[in-house]
Symmetry: C2
Subunit: 434 residues, 2 copies
C-alpha cells in the first residue's frame, strides 16, 4: 500500500525525473561544482545543533539492537547541515573555496500535503571558504539555477531574493530589539495578511503600531532592479547593517539583470523561516504554480560550519526536485514520448532464432541504440502490440534482408544492424511540457 508522504513515480515519471537530474547535474558541473554525497544519517545532536528546528527528525534504531546501541542517529532533513559537518570534518583534505553539488534524498516527519513529502529529493549547490567567502558567490547561485532550470520544459522560474541584513538592520534602526521574532511574524505575511502581522508584531515583538506598520511596509517592497533600495531609504530608517544589506542586495540584482534578465526579483518579504541564514536569502516560484510556494531556496550562512577558531562561511541554494515534479506531475504538465528507454524491438519469428536475434540486438546496442528482443516467439501482430503498448517506435524483422518498421508511420525499410541509425529525435525518449 502507498505510504502517505513517501511518493513513488511510475517509470515514465522516473524517466522525466532523470532527465531533469541530468540537466541539473550537467549544469552544476559546467560551473565547476564537484559531486558529493554524504551519509543519510547524522548524530541527533548534529541535526539539532542549529537551535530550534521545525523539521521533524526520523530517528533510527536497529530491530535487533542490543544495549551497546551507538549514539542516536537520525535521517538528515536537508543537505546543508550534513555538508557543513562534512566540511569541518574533512577540511584538511579539501581545497577552498570548495564548490560542491549534492543530489540526495532527505526526510522530514511532517504532515504530508501536495508537494510536501516525508521523503524527497533535493539538488543543492554550495560554495564554502575558510575564514571569509567573497560576496560575488551570492550573485552566482541564482544564475546557476536559472541556467539549470531554464533548459528544461517546465514553466519559467522567478527567483525572489532578500537579505537578512536589510531586515535586521531595518528593525534595529526602527528601535526593535527582538529582530528574530519580528522576522518570524513577517514570514507569515502571505499566509495571514498584513493586518494580522501588524497585530502580532504589536502583541509579540514589542512593536508600536507605527513600528509594525513600517515593518509591513518594508515587506511590501519589490522590484526587478536596484530601485527597491530607494524605496527602502524613503522609509527614513538608517542603520549600518541596513546599508550593508542594501548594497549586497543591489549587487545580486544587478548581476542577474546583466546575465539573466527577468530571472530575479528583489522581494523584501522573503524571510526563509528561522534557518541558519545570515545575509542573502533565495526563494523561487514556478510561474502559474505560485500558490505551492518555493521550489528552490537557500541563502548565505556565515556561522553554520565552524570548529575551534576555524570558520567556514558558505552560500548555497537547493532545488526541491520532488516538490517541483510532484506539482507538475499532479497537473500532467510533463510528458515523455515512451514508457521505456527502448528504441527498437527485435521481433522473434521462432524461438530457435533467439541467438540470431540477440546478435542483431547486440549490434544495435554497440552503436548506442537501446534494443530489446521480443519475450517470446509470436505472430508479428502481437510483437508490434508489445512495442506499441510501450511506445517503442521501431520493430526489427529478421529476414533476407532484415527490415525495420516505424510503427507510428507504418513505413518499413531494408536495414542492416551494423549501419542502420534511427533519427536523432527517436534515439532517446523525449521529455516535453504538456
Amino acid at each position: 500500500m502507498p505510504i502517505s508522504g513517501f511518493p513513488e513515480w511510475l517509470p515514465p515519471q522516473r524517466m522525466i525525473e532523470q532527465r531533469v537530474l541530468d540537466r541539473v547535474r550537467t549544469t552544476f558541473e559546467l560551473y565547476g561544482f564537484a559531486p558529493l554525497e554524504t551519509r543519510s544519517v547524522e548524530p541527533l545532536d548534529t541535526l539539532l545543533s542549529k537551535g530550534e528546528t521545525s523539521k521533524e527528525v526520523y530517528l533510527l534504531h536497529r530491530l535487533q539492537g542490543g544495549t551497546d546501541e551507538e549514539d542516536q542517529l537520525g535521517l538528515h532533513f536537508d543537505l546543508t547541515v550534513p555538508f557543513a559537518r562534512f566540511v569541518v570534518e574533512n577540511a584538511g583534505k579539501l581545497q577552498f573555496p570548495f564548490r560542491r553539488y549534492q543530489i540526495q534524498k532527505v526526510w522530514r516527519g511532517e504532515r504530508p500535503q501536495e508537494g510536501r513529502y516525508r521523503e524527497f529529493l533535493q539538488a543543492d549547490i554550495d560554495v564554502v571558504n575558510r575564514d571569509n567567502l567573497p560576496f560575488h558567490y551570492d550573485t552566482e547561485m541564482p544564475l546557476v539555477i536559472g541556467d539549470a532550470l531554464g533548459g528544461l520544459p517546465i514553466p519559467r522560474v522567478r527567483i525572489q531574493i532578500n537579505n537578512r541584513k536589510v531586515c535586521e538592520g531595518f528593525y534595529r534602526g526602527l528601535g526593535l530589539s527582538d529582530t528574530a521574532q519580528v522576522l518570524r511574524v513577517v514570514d507569515k505575511l502571505d499566509k495571514i495578511g498584513p493586518d494580522k502581522v501588524t497585530e502580532q508584531l504589536v502583541a509579540t515583538a514589542g512593536a508600536t503600531r507605527s513600528q509594525a506598520d513600517a515593518c509591513v511596509e518594508l515587506a511590501s517592497i519589490s522590484a526587478e532592479d536596484a530601485s527597491f533600495a530607494d524605496a527602502v531609504r524613503k522609509l527614513g530608517i538608517t542603520d549600518p547593517l541596513l546599508d550593508e544589506g542594501l548594497d549586497e542586495l543591489v549587487r545580486v540584482v544587478e548581476a542577474a539583470r546583466e546575465h539573466a534578465p527577468g530571472l530575479l526579483v528583489a522581494d523584501l518579504k522573503i524571510a526563509r523561516g528561522l534557518d541558519y541564514y545570515t545575509g542573502t536569502v533565495y526563494e523561487t516560484l514556478l510561474t502559474g504554480y505560485e500558490r505551492f510556494g518555493s521550489i528552490c531556496s537557500g541563502g548565505r550562512y556565515d556561522n553554520l560550519a565552524s570548529s575551534g577558531n576555524d570558520r567556514f562561511p558558505g552560500v548555497g541554494i537547493s532545488i526541491g526536485v520532488s516538490r517541483m515534479l510532484g506539482i507538475l506531475f499532479g497537473r500532467q504538465a510533463l510528458e515523455v514520448s515512451r514508457k521505456v528507454p527502448t528504441c527498437v524491438l527485435v521481433a522473434l519469428p521462432q524461438e530457435e532464432q533467439r541467438a540470431a536475434c540477440d546478435r542483431t540486438a547486440a549490434a544495435l546496442r554497440r552503436r548506442g541504440i537501446a534494443t530489446e528482443v521480443a519475450p517470446a516467439a509470436a505472430k508479428f501482430g502481437k510483437q508490434i502490440q508489445y512495442a506499441d503498448r510501450r511506445g517503442i517506435p521501431y520493430v526489427w524483422f529478421p529476414g533476407e534482408p532484415d527490415t525495420v518498421k516505424d510503427i507510428r508511420s507504418g513505413e518499413q525499410v531494408e536495414a542492416d544492424a551494423t549501419t542502420w541509425q534511427p533519427p536523432a529525435a527517436d534515439l532517446h525518449p523525449a521529455v516535453t511540457g504538456a
Copy 2:
C-alpha cells in the same frame, strides 16, 4: 566524526562512482530496462515477510512522534523486496514482462567490515512477468552485467552461477529431506572447509557420512562449459528436479559462452544464503579481490511477488556498487585525472573585470566546457596554483587577445571563447585503473 559503516567518499572518489553509475545506467537502458526508484521505507511486515532474514533492519520513529504513530516503518535492506511489493501494488499500470533497473541506497544494521557497510549503494536489474517468466531471461542477466562492468577500468569480473534446483534435486535424490538445512551448511564451505561441512551435515541435516560426502563432492564441481553436467551425472544421483536444474544451468552457460566467452563459470557451491531464490543463482568475483566475496549477486525468484491468484515470477541481479568501489578505493586501484569537473579556470586580473570574465566563462560553458572564474583578483601565479591544486588543466587569461595556457605543458596560445575547444580527452575528468 565518521560513523562506522556509513562510508563517505571525497569528491574525486564520488566522481569515479558517478562514472561507474553512468556506465551501468547507460548499459541497463541499452537493454531496455526502465528506471525505477521505490521509497526508502517499507512496513516492517513487508521487510520480514520472506521468513527468517539475516538482515538487520533499521526501524524509524519520529523524534516528536505522538501516539498516532502509523505502522512501523523500516529502511529497505535490498531493492528486490521493495520491487516485488511495487509490482504487486502497481500491476494494473505496468506492462509485462516488466524490465526495470533501480539504483539506490539500502541499509543493514550489521557489523561493518571492509567492503561491508550499513549504508550502501546497489544497482539492480530485474525482469518480472505475470504467471510465467520465460527462462531465457535467466541467461540475459549475466550478459548485461558483463557488458556494464566490462566497459569500466576495473579488474575483470567472473560470474559464478548455480541453480537451486540442482542442489535441492540432488539432495532429494540422495534421500535427504531437509534440503534447506543442507544448503545452509554447504553455503559455509568457503568459510569452514569441507571437513567441517561434512561434520555439520551429519550433525544437523540428518545425513550419513556418505551422503554428506556426496554433497561436498557436488559443491566441488565447477566448469566454464556444459561439462559440469556430466560431472554431476557421474555422481549417480537421479531426480526430476535435478535434471531440470541441470538443463537450465547448461542453457545459461552456453549462452554466455556464445555472447561473452570467459565471463561465466558454473560453480556448484554457490548457494546465495537463505534468500528467496528458486532456480538460477548468481555471484560475481573481482579478479584479484576474490577474498572479499561477491560484488554482484542475484537469481531467479518464482514466489517473491504474489497477490491472491496472481503470481509475478522474476529474475534479477544486483551490483554492490559501494562494496566494489570500497574494495578498489581501499587499494588505490582507481584514479581520476582531476579533483573537480572544471576544465578551464578564467584568471581574474582585477575585481573590476569580473563581469567580463563571467561572460568569457558563460561563452565556454555554452559549448559544454566546464569553467570557473577565479575566486579573487590575484597575481597570475596564485591563480595557476588554484588550478594546479585541483588538477584543472587550462587557465584562461583575458587580454588583447585572450590566451589560454595548458598548465601541464606550459604551452600558451591565443584563443577566442566562442570557438576554442580543448582536446576531447581533457573535456571531462578521466577515470583510469591505477
